[in-house]
């Protein structure tokens, strides 16, 4: 299982190599034996992407956890895939630098996993997602060969294979050495908490801030259900329990005067948009407390029920009010509790459905509601995942956003890197939807593991 409780798999074997050389030897042995394998970091993913089936070997990379180099002057670091995101941030900080992508699971998730999933996080609104921060990779292909792609200067050295590899969910191989871009730490940070009596007005405030030409470092929204879950937990952050929604807005920069001036503009916009109150964190401790509530919201919601499905979809920002309203209607229709905590500035929604997976009828309703939520987002011009990946959980939705030609093209690209489809088989691209392309090319489709897996266990 990974962070998504609705899928469970049991691999034949689990291997935890302790060095790059051991990893290469393991993958070469698996290649010689023709055994499929699944690379896995900390297992915090939310799409079932790091699950290995019977017949597969799980290759866990958490012991490859060394930071090999930090080049302060040129602002990059070279790390092994098992380095924990927050630990890289901590190592960069004394140099006045940061690794900007900050998924909510950053205290546990690994850089290798971030690369595989093209992970995001609250501060990606200003600083960009993982793909914007990866300069070069050493990649271990399924056949056991090592390939260097990209360069520390950022020029790809040929076609942008680094850009292609990031977000490929392990299907193209394992990133064994990762060169990441580090950015200067902001010198000034202002964190605001604004509360609203309606989700709609909170959504309008988001649009007003973006339209003003200000790019906050983060612009996060939580609805009342989420607020109450946080406030009832050990992560209580002082959010107003009676608010229909709160916005957490962070403005940062290298110039204090500019940050202060932009903060003043944002405060005015929040009030004009109908905020009942706007509170500014008065200290670093208060700022951390406000952020802890947001980043631990998923954990806090764990108290609501035995299981939690964290959904992930993206819609155009302007569609947020309508889509949130529709999600609420869907939740009512199926008699479910849906809490929303999400990256409002990016339009990246995370509707969370609390339920008990041991109740088959409830589970059926959760799956039906999830599908309707996805269809709502697609109909609004959005997509099925902004940062969690397709994995196995969203395979069924891929034909809703890509036609057979496009899915076929993706599958054919995968075959270039892994002709036998042994790395993380059955993920990302629903092969049955693109058979025509691959047959037309004479590619061999499908080791037995290549077919899409069945539904949740």
């Amino acid at each position: 299982m990974d962070g998504l409780p609705t899928h469970r798999r049991i691999p034949d074997l689990v291997v935890l190599p302790g060095t790059r050389e051991e990893l290469v030897a393991v993958v070469r042995l698996l290649a010689a034996l023709g055994v499929p394998f699944v690379p896995r970091g900390a297992g915090t993913g939310l799409s079932g992407g790091a699950l290995a089936d019977e017949g597969s070997t799980l290759v866990v990379l958490t012991r490859l956890n060394r930071i090999l180099r930090i080049d302060k002057d040129n602002r990059y670091a070279v790390v092994e895939p098992g380095v924990v995101n927050a630990k890289l941030g901590a190592a960069a900080r004394p140099h006045g630098l940061q690794y900007a992508p900050d998924p909510s699971s950053q205290s546990a998730c690994t850089i290798g996993g971030n690369v595989a999933e093209n992970a995001g996080g609250p501060h990606c609104l200003k600083y960009g997602v993982t793909a914007n921060h990866i300069l070069a990779l050493e990649v271990l292909l399924a056949d056991g060969s090592l390939v260097d792609i990209g360069s520390p200067g950022g020029e790809p050295w040929g076609p942008d294979l680094v850009g292609l590899f990031v977000g490929s969910e392990g299907n193209f191989g394992i990133a064994t050495r990762i060169t990441v871009r580090l950015t200067p730490l902001p010198r000034a940070v202002r964190t605001l908490l604004a509360d609203f009596s309606a989700l709609k007005t909170a959504g309008e405030a988001v649009s007003a801030i973006i339209a003003a030409g200000i790019v906050p470092a983060a612009l996060e929204m939580m609805d009342q259900s989420c607020i109450r879950a946080v406030e009832d937990s050990v992560y209580a952050a002082g959010y107003p329990r009676d608010a229909a929604a709160v916005l957490l807005v962070e403005i940062d920069g290298r110039n204090t005067d500019a940050v202060v001036a932009e903060t003043d503009v944002v405060v005015e916009l929040l009030h004009k948009s109908g905020a009942r109150s706007v509170r500014s964190a008065a200290s670093e401790a208060e700022r951390e407390r406000l952020w802890q509530g947001r980043k631990k919201a998923f954990g806090a919601m764990g108290r609501l029920s035995r299981d939690l499905v964290v959904q992930d979809a993206v819609v155009p920002r302007s569609a947020l009010p309508h889509v949130l309203e529709t999600i609420s209607t869907i939740a009512s229709h199926y008699g479910l509790v849906v809490s929303n905590v999400f990256h409002a500035g990016d339009g990246n929604l995370h509707p969370n459905i609390s339920f008990d997976a041991t109740d088959p009828e409830l589970k059926r309703r959760v799956e039906a509601a999830s599908a309707e939520i996805m269809q709502t987002c697609i109909a609004a011009g959005g997509t099925i995942t902004g940062e969690h990946g397709v994995g196995i959980d969203k395979l069924r939705y891929m034909p809703l956003i890509f036609d057979a030609e496009s899915l076929g093209a993706m599958h054919a690209v995968r075959l270039v890197f892994d002709p036998d489809e042994r790395v993380n088989p059955g993920k990302v691209v629903p092969v049955h939807a693109c058979r025509e392309w691959t047959h037309a090319r004479g590619y061999r489709v499908g080791s037995p593991g290549a077919a899409p897996r069945g539904e949740a266990a």
């Binding site: 390939v147 850009g163 110039n255 500019a258 993206v314 920002r317 339009g347 902004g386 093209a409 270039v416």
Partner: protein, 402 residues
């Protein structure tokens, strides 16, 4: 039946333009579907097709049976100012696109080299970022998705129209800077910004080493320029090197940076430009790279910038150079022989610095290639991708060189 007869029967007379100077038939499909039809036919017939935009960047000289120009794909199906996104066809000229976006208060924060009418598709296919790369990143960071047609006429979508998207593999980044090796881009989904409410440019003239130091001081002072570009005297048409600093964003941000600029000038004096002067300066810089026969870019780590500039001057002469030292990006244009370019590329490879040939006459780019030889293990991957997206090799493109 000639190729021209067959194409006319396929797409109609309206798609047939005046032939190129080398007498190659020039075809301008009027829709993405027509591009697919043409390439599908070319694949079946074994025709070799060269891809052109407005014809202002790469010379129209690659040996081919026909030239496919995207210039009639010039529509902008959507501009969404509230979402800061737009969708544009690949043949739209950047000047037209900029104007229409500005009418909606939106801005595409790129300033690639080339003439004002250079097409969007050309910029994406070559991955040619300009000075705004300093503040807003490479071309690929401005793309939300693309639709492209493969060499055998299949239409493929990648990405979408929203700010974040990890559904499926990122074929958009493969297309950005792929020089058309993996298909013809027909539609582009763009990430926009609001038109900057403040946008000012300052220039400082001086010795190259001194200006480099000023650039470092600006970064150390915490200023956040949109562009910080070091320009050679020949390109700037000045007596000495010039450091161009562009500040763009909210009035508060720009005012704060302006206040800090003087302290970082190293005793020199920045000259503010009037709006029309600033426009002319940056346009001249962009257009300068479309005049000389050969243009290439290199990118090393920032601390190597000085050494790389010295190397260029030593091996190719003090021609027209523009550099973004903090980003490690350098662009050179001038006249260079095949031998010299190949020697320079070998020298740079020893320093772990790639050279991407952006523009040159066919004999040069055919021999040198846009990318040159790949590193160990990369060649088979690129060849496999090329076979995937252009199985018959219909698209004429010089990636590796001969």
């Amino acid at each position: 039946m000639t190729i021209l007869d067959k194409v006319t029967a396929l797409l109609g007379e309206g798609a047939v333009l005046e032939p190129s100077p080398d007498r190659v038939p020039r075809i301008a499909p009027g829709s993405p579907d027509a591009v697919a039809l043409l390439l599908g036919t070319a694949h079946q017939e074994g025709w070799r097709v060269r891809i052109e935009g407005a014809g202002t960047w790469l010379p129209s000289d690659a040996p081919a049976d026909l030239a496919l120009t995207t210039r009639r794909l010039d529509r902008i199906p959507a501009i969404e100012p509230s979402d800061l996104t737009a969708t544009a066809e690949a043949g739209i000229g950047l000047d037209q696109l900029r104007q229409q976006l500005a009418d909606h208060g939106a801005w595409l924060a790129i300033d690639p080299p080339g003439l004002a009418g250079r097409t969007l598709g050309s910029v994406v296919a070559t991955g040619s970022a300009g000075p705004l790369r300093h503040g807003f990143g490479p071309i690929k960071d401005h793309l939300l998705g693309v639709t492209f047609v493969t060499g055998d006429g299949r239409m493929v979508q990648s990405g979408g129209r929203v700010m974040k998207n990890v559904a499926g593999y990122d074929l958009t980044r493969l297309q950005a800077g792929g020089f058309g090796a993996f298909g013809v881009i027909v539609l582009v989904h763009l990430r926009l910004r609001t038109l900057p409410r403040a946008d000012v440019t300052y220039l400082l003239e001086g010795a190259r080493e001194d200006l480099t130091q000023v650039g470092e001081d600006i970064a150390a002072a915490g200023l956040t320029p949109a562009a910080l570009e070091l320009v050679s005297p020949a390109l700037a048409r000045r007596d000495r090197w010039v450091l161009g600093v562009r500040l763009a964003g909210s009035p508060a941000l720009v005012a704060a940076d302006e206040a800090g600029l003087g302290a970082a000038s190293g005793g020199g004096r920045f000259t503010p430009l009037r709006a029309e002067e600033a426009h002319a300066f940056w346009m001249r810089l962009a257009e300068g790279f479309a005049i000389r026969p050969v243009t290439f870019r290199i990118a090393g780590v920032p601390t190597a910038s000085d050494e790389l500039l010295d190397l260029l001057q030593h091996q190719l002469g003090d021609e027209w150079i523009s550099a973004s030292p903090a980003a490690g990006a350098i662009r050179w244009t001038g006249d260079a022989t095949i031998d010299r370019l190949q020697r320079l590329r070998r020298t740079l490879a020893g320093l772990e610095v790639p050279l991407t040939l952006e523009r040159a006459p066919w004999p040069v780019r055919g021999a040198v290639g846009h990318f040159g030889a790949y590193r160990e293990g990369v060649g088979p991957l690129v060849a496999g991708l090329r076979r995937t997206f252009d199985p018959g090799g219909a698209i004429v493109v010089a990636t590796e060189g001969s």
